[in-house]
Structure formats: structure tokens, C-alpha cells
Symmetry: C2
Subunit: 581 residues, 2 copies
Amino acid sequence: MTSLPKSLTTRLQQYIPALDWLRHYQSKHLFGDITAGIIVTSLLIPQSMAYALLAGLPPHVGLYASIFPAIIYPLLGTSRVLAVGPAAVDSLMVAAAIAKFAPQGSSEYLVLAITLALLVGIIEIGMGALRMGFLVNFLSRSVISGFISGAAIIIGFSQVKHLLGLKIPATESFIELLTLIVSKISEVNWVTLGLGLASMGILLYFNQPLVKQLKRQGWSDQKILPVSKSAPLLVVILGSLLVSIFQWDQGLGIRVVGMVPSGFPPLTIPTFDLQIWRSLLPAALAIALVGYMEGFSGAQAFASKRREKIDPNQELIAFGAANVGAAFSGGYPVTGGVSRSAVSFSAGANTGLASIITGILVAITVMFLTSWFYFLPQTCLAAIIITAVYKLIDFATLKRMWNYDKADAIAWLFTFGAVLGLGVEKGIIFGAMVALSLHLWHTSRPHIAIVGRLGNSEHFRNVLRYEVKTSPQVLAIRVDASLYFANAKYMENFLNREISDRPVVTSILLVCSAVNLIDASALEVLESLIADLRTLGINFYFSEVKGPVMDKLLKIGFVDYAGRDHFFLSTDIAMRELAGI
Amino acid sequence: MTSLPKSLTTRLQQYIPALDWLRHYQSKHLFGDITAGIIVTSLLIPQSMAYALLAGLPPHVGLYASIFPAIIYPLLGTSRVLAVGPAAVDSLMVAAAIAKFAPQGSSEYLVLAITLALLVGIIEIGMGALRMGFLVNFLSRSVISGFISGAAIIIGFSQVKHLLGLKIPATESFIELLTLIVSKISEVNWVTLGLGLASMGILLYFNQPLVKQLKRQGWSDQKILPVSKSAPLLVVILGSLLVSIFQWDQGLGIRVVGMVPSGFPPLTIPTFDLQIWRSLLPAALAIALVGYMEGFSGAQAFASKRREKIDPNQELIAFGAANVGAAFSGGYPVTGGVSRSAVSFSAGANTGLASIITGILVAITVMFLTSWFYFLPQTCLAAIIITAVYKLIDFATLKRMWNYDKADAIAWLFTFGAVLGLGVEKGIIFGAMVALSLHLWHTSRPHIAIVGRLGNSEHFRNVLRYEVKTSPQVLAIRVDASLYFANAKYMENFLNREISDRPVVTSILLVCSAVNLIDASALEVLESLIADLRTLGINFYFSEVKGPVMDKLLKIGFVDYAGRDHFFLSTDIAMRELAGI
């Protein structure tokens, strides 16, 4: 590889970022990578089966989706610790998307799931190639937090039926689900519930109290981690042993995972029926965006701790390739999971090799160990999901936003409510719309201040906030916004109101320090305003017009229209000349 | 009325603005009002019949829609010259909306049209009561201009079949319409075409050359107006005479209006079938918004010439009431027309009485004179529409926007294209979306300048545009935008890039003179940025933070987090302290 001409190597590395760490792999990194690979595997096996069930798929589909994606991502992605595979919110979105077209458990359902993975992959690769990674910036923190909180609640409640041992058909509506659970409350299988609650107890104990205990006993973080993260595996093993020894699956009706096919993942071919593609497209778009958002923010969080550089568009391509890989190996849509990546990071993963090791270990499991899963109780998997997602419910962010910015809090609440009321897909779209509308609403009613000179300085500040000097003849107004179609009329109304209150005003000075843009609509409003004021004998002046704005005003002839000597570099100069202060 | 207590009168006048001019009516205003009423009527009768045909309705429906709306609006509206009745673009939208549900000419079609008027009325009244008149500000000039230009082209081409005497079914698609016309070109009725072209010749001649000629001969504007505006009536009379005398309707197959029912408009009851209401709702919303936009901008244009005050929400209520009136008197959706209002204004209308006179004159026509319309050729009405709408095609605005602001020009082109390609309703929604997206896109990549001191002044300007003094240790950056979710990451990337290029930088100064808002997402980005820079030994400072922004930063504890002494009132003070310059 080193014999290749430099430019070619650089270009190759641009497309396959793994070449960087593969070519310079240091043996000292191996231990961390292997440890992390093993620990993540022990977490991933029960989680991926649980998430597959959440997506309405047989558990082994979750395992299949944990092999090739985990091997493909580290070759193409720019993060070295991101763990790619099935994820909770994505699994819920898959279930919601396919439920409209096929019943859970049917062979069509599986075909639609792998087709969805292919579509998500194509969309992500396409967006990456078109450098559209920036799109994710249009989801605000409030929308993301409200969305994930709402989705976590739906996920949690969707598992309650497994925890209670109830047979309840898949339903999209949160309210309907609650009603069904309440109406069947007399049919609760108490042993199932006991086993589930015991599992949750173990998971919660390992999560916090045990960690603190071991720390007090002087264990190192490096040793605590594998113990604490082995809880899901432990729950799965204990649950399976209990059921198989006491035959609870037959005598007490505890529902188990049952037969899981063994052997290497089969080559699966998604459908290429365009009709089906078109039906799945909206869901695929939503899953691609949400999955990307989730994975990318995970990658970014760990990159900033290691000073790595994450390329948003290369990440899209890597996630897309991982999904295409999932589609052809019997999997379903995947993305980078924040919590598993955190485990990998803490376990000492140095390079993408950790993820590759995970993929290989899962493949070995699928080939030789699936018979062990026969007696695995579904209630244990439900317990794993519930304890994994409850942490995602983020009312703290809501509370903080409420104190800081009501608009953000409102966007959070609307998104949260829409996810619960309308479902995950519509919920996030609705939330994003609300956030954008609130932003536009805000900019359409900008803060406008009448300003005066602060003492003898060159600074001009709001007359309502500071003791400042003003002139009765010259009204100096600072608009704290770009002037564009949605707020130009608002500014005009403000000016007209102030002028009618001040009959002695002969000059208006518009302080443009915060005006970053004047669009064509606002330009028209300004032109007619200037003309109207002229007939009243009032002159219109500008100060502190920014360079890029001035260039355009000059080009279109507005500066000549308003008068070249009506533009001042600073408010200071303008007020000295116009008002003599 | 004067005996009422003052406060009640004032409150009543708020709801019925007409009380103002009714109570103080001066006899000197009467002549102008009567003249304007007569001239507008002579224009309105042929126009309203033509627009009804454009909407796919029998011509008398246009007359019905010109009676009560013309009487109701001046009682409730705040403009004294606006002429309310059928309008071109609205008629096209009515046709597009109903075509999906009933064939033209059927009785269901008519019921749907009056139901649409009721829905539009209810929506407008509701929006007015909820004070939602501001919504129209979110349609930019570019979108409005592109929309009207596209609609004008569709309207013009929809009349070509009448001009050519071709029988072509109503079609929503512009392309399909063109194809049908071309395929039937051999069936053109040449007499129809000749009569239509002659009508257009008369209309165009009266419009401009005749006015100039009369002006040269010393006629006053006051005398020219009734002559020039009588052209449509003249065309209608001449056309009808020719056809009835030479019996062209039988011999030569010229299509005429035929039987028009006579008598006072019947009381019509819209359907209250909720299923139908739901189907018509999207169209009703679009027509309400577009109609309001059209009427309101008309009202505003004339108000500013007379120093009247137009209340956007009262206008919504007045338009809504006019539409409800239309719905119960056999009419269809109406709005304020800019061109007829201009005629009324020029003809000397002083108060709403002019419009009321118009309504009464149309009522008399409908009661006694409809038999005169039997021989009225449809080709003459088509000529009237074409000569009325071609002026709406506004490429001049596109060209100006192209020179000034490409984003506005792109929004124009997209709206125009979408109206032609997708139809009027979807076209305006699509256009509005494009304009908003372009605005958001623009604000998501704000202009960011590195600034330095201008000479020995207190002003700091862009280093790329001015000869300024800077410090190698202190990087002063001015972000020309509010910081919100869509641009916070962009700013962060900019800063990180600049810092990595300048290893000696120890302080960052963020000049916030153009930052009107920092939302919760941007706040998080700033917090993590400050934390990251601290680990690199770089301090983060702020200057010129605006009052409202500072209040919120203080409240949430950000000011303490960043350090109280890290905030400076001015960039001048900050740079003297931090950089010693």
C-alpha cells in the first residue's frame, strides 16, 4: 500500500477512512480493542434480540443485523468507537412503518424490513454523496429531546405486555395500547411478571448500586465495567436456565423465544417492487434521518473527547453502507447507538477493530450457539429494553428549556405530544415543523429598540434600558433582525406608530448593526416607506449597514434612490451630523 | 345614534367601521360615489360573468356574487375604495378545487361552489377573530409575484379554447390543455376567432392608445376614465348585437351565453355535509389566504394614498362576511379586486357608498336586464379575461430580483413553475415552502467576520473589507445572525477552523451586536465549545450582548458558567482590556 503514489493513497483514504488506522495499527491498541469487542458483544447479543422483537421481527434478525453492519461501518466511518447495529428508536420506527402493510410474523413483514434497510441505506449514501449532512442541523435540541422522550415512553409501554405475559396485538396508538392492557389486566401471568421484575431488579442493581459498591471496595473502573455491563447477559442466562430446568414454558405458560435458526446469515434479496418502494419511502426517509441524527451525534460526542474529526457526509455514507449490508444479510435498519458506543469507549476501544471483533463474535454465536436461546423468556428481553430506554426520557431538558426559552419548551412539548398522539414518524415531522414555525414567528416580530448615546461614548443603546441622550428631531431605531418578507411590515408598522406619536421628528435613522440581510420584499417596503415619509417631509437615513448588505443595495440602485449621503458608517457619526449630539 | 353613550358608539364603530363615514356623510362626496358606482358597474357586469365562466359556473353566478358582497364589504371593511366581487385568480382556484369532485355544469358543481364560499367566509372570519392576519406576511413578494404570474398564464390559456371556438373539456394540467388545443387546431371556428380578436383589439385600443389620444386632445382624466373603462361593456354590446342580428349563433356556430335566469338572486343553502366540508377544506384554506392577500394588499395600496388606516384582522372579517353573503345568495368566493378598486379610486369614490351603489345596480340588472345577455358571445368574455390578466404576468419583478437577490428570484421561479406544473393550490404552498426553506438555509450559514479596530475609533469592522488593527492573541469574531439550532454548529465549525489555523490565539471574543436570540440548542453548543476551549487553554469572551439576550443568559446561569467578567459592554472596551489595542 505504501508503494502507491501519495495522492492516490490520500484519495483512497478519503473514501475508506479505515486505511488510516489499518496502515498504522499499533500492537499496543490490540488489548483494548479485543476487550471492548468482547464486552460490547455480551451486551449486544441480548439487546439486538430484544430490539428485533420490538421491531416486530424474530430475534435472530437482530443478531443478523449486528454482524455485517458492525464490520462495514468501521471501514467507512470516521469515528473509531461508534458501535453500529440495531437501536431502540429505529426499531420502533420500523415496526410502525411496516405495520401498515403486513401483519407481524408474516414472511412479507420480514421482506419489508430488509427492503426498508436497503432503502435507508440508499437514502443515506445518496445524501452523503450530495453532501446533505447539514440537514440534520434543522432538528433542534428541543425537537430531538422531545422526540426521543416520547419514543422511549412508547417503547417502554410496548414491552409491558411481555412483562405481564399478555397477548395483545401490535397497535400503533398509544391510547389503544393502554386500554388493551387495562382491559386484560385479569389475565396477567404472575410468574412472567415476577421473572420480569426480578430481571429489572438485577439490571438496575448492576447499573448503579453495584458500581458504587465495587468502587468503594477499591475496584478500578476498568474492572467494574465488564461486570456491570454483563447484567443483560446474566439476566438472559439465569432466565433461560430457570425456564428450562423447571419447564415453566409448558407448565406456567411463560413465553420463550423458541427455535432460533442456526448457521451463517443467509444472503437475502430485498424486493425491488417499485410500488412497495414508494409505500416505504416516507418511513425510510424518516428512519434514515433519525438514525443518522442518532449515530452522528454519538460519533461527535466521543470524537470531541479524543480530538478526532467526524465528517458528517462520510458518516452518512458509512451508515448507508452498513444498512445495505444489513439488507443483504437478513438484517433490518441499523445505526450507531450512543449507549453501546459509550461502553465500547469506556472498555478501551482504540480503533474500529473493536467493532469488527464484535461482528465476528456475533457471527460465531449465530453459527453455533442459537440453540441456547430456546428457553430465553421474552419477559427478560422486555426487562432489558425497559431498563435501557427509561433513561432516554428527558424531562430535565424540558424543565431547563422552560426556564430559558419558552419557544424551545413549547417545541419539546409539541414534539413529545405528537409522538405519543400521532406516532413516531409523524411526530418528528410535526415537531420539526413546530420548531421552525416558532423560529419564523419569532423572527417575524423582531425586537426593535429606540436608541440614544450612552454618556459621551460612541455607543448607542436602548432608551428603555440605559440613561442615554436622544434628539427630539432624529428618531434612531435599531431593528434586531434581518429584514425579510415575514417581518418587513412589522418594522414599517412600528415606525409609522412611533412617527405619529412624535410630530416634531424630521429624520429617521435606521441602525442596521443587526441587519444581516434585506430581501426583495423588505426592499420594496423600505422603498415605499421612504417615498411615503418624503411626502411628510421626513428624511430616512441608515447607519452601520454591513458590507454584504451594502453591496447589494448599491447594485440594485437603492443607495442612489435613498440618497448616497443618507448612509453613515456609524451611528455616532450619523447622530453628530443629523442631531448635533 | 349620537344619543348613544360614547364608549358604546366607539365599540360599535370598531366592529362596524362604516359607522364612521355613515354618521359623518357629506353631500359633497355624493357625486364622486355615484360616478364611481356606475363606472365600476359597467366594468363589473361583463367581468363577473367572464370570471364565473372561468370558475366553470354559469355567468349569472358571477352577477349574483357581485351584489351582496359589494354591499356587505363597505359596512365592515376598513378600506373606503376596495371593490369586492369575483376575481380572476380566485375563480381559477375555485375551478381547480371543484373539478375533482363534480363535473362542470352539474347541479353538484354549483352547490360545491356556494359551499366553498361559505367555508372561505367562515375561515376568514375565524382568522380575523383570532387575529391571524399576520399570516399573510409569510408569503414573500417573490412567491406572490411568481404565483400570480403563473396563475395569469393558466387563466389566459384556459380562455384560448373559447377564443378559438373549440370544445375542450376542463383540465387541470397546463400541458394537457396545450396538447388538446394543438390536436384540435383544425376545428377552429374562424368567425369566433375573428370576433374574439376584434374584441381584444378594441379592449387594447381603449386601454392605452385611446387614452393617450384623448389626453393629447385636452380631455381631463376625469372624463377619459369612463370612456376608457367602458370598453368591456362596449365589446359585450357590439358582440351581442352582431350575433343577434346576423344569427351567427345558429349559422356559424358561435357559442353564446344563452338563457340567463332573471329575478332577484335566490336564497341558496350551502350543503352542511361534513364529508364534503372536509374534502373542500384544503382548497377553502388556500382560497381564503390568497383572496385575503389579494384584497388586503389592494386595500393597503389605496389607503396609503389617502392616509387611511387598514386593520388586517377587520379586513379578514369583512371579506369573510362578504363570502358568507355570497354563499347564501347564489354566489361563489369573492375578494377585493385591485384593478376594479383602482377604477373606483380614479373615478372619485369617497366612501363605501360607491360599492353599495354598484351592488344595487347589479341587482337591478339581474332583475330586469338578463334577457339582453342571451346573444353575448363567449369569445367576447374570453377576450375580456385575457386582456385583464396578461398585465398580471410580472417578469419585470423576476428580473429585478435576479439582479438583487438570487434567493428571491429562485423562489419566484419555483413558485411560477409549481403553479404551471402542479396547479394553483399546490403551487402556492410549494412556493411558500421554497421561500421559507431558502430563508432558513440562508440563516443556517450566516455571514461571519473576523473584525479589527478601524483606525483609532471605537468601531470594529471586517478585516477583509477595511484596514483594521487586530491582535494575534485575541480573535474577535462577529456572527451576523441570531444563534439558533440551524446555525449553531456552523458557527462552531467556523471557530474551530480559525483556531486551528492560529496556534497563538489565547482568547476568543464573540461580538454579539447582530445576535438577537440564542436558543436552547445554540446555548448547548456554546457551553460545550467553552468547555472544549478551556481544555486547550483558550478563554471565551462576549461583547455587545443585547439586553433581551443577556437577561435570558443571566437567568439560566450561563453568565456565571462563562464567567461574569467575560462579558463586555462594547468590543472597544473588550479589545483594550484583552489585547491592549
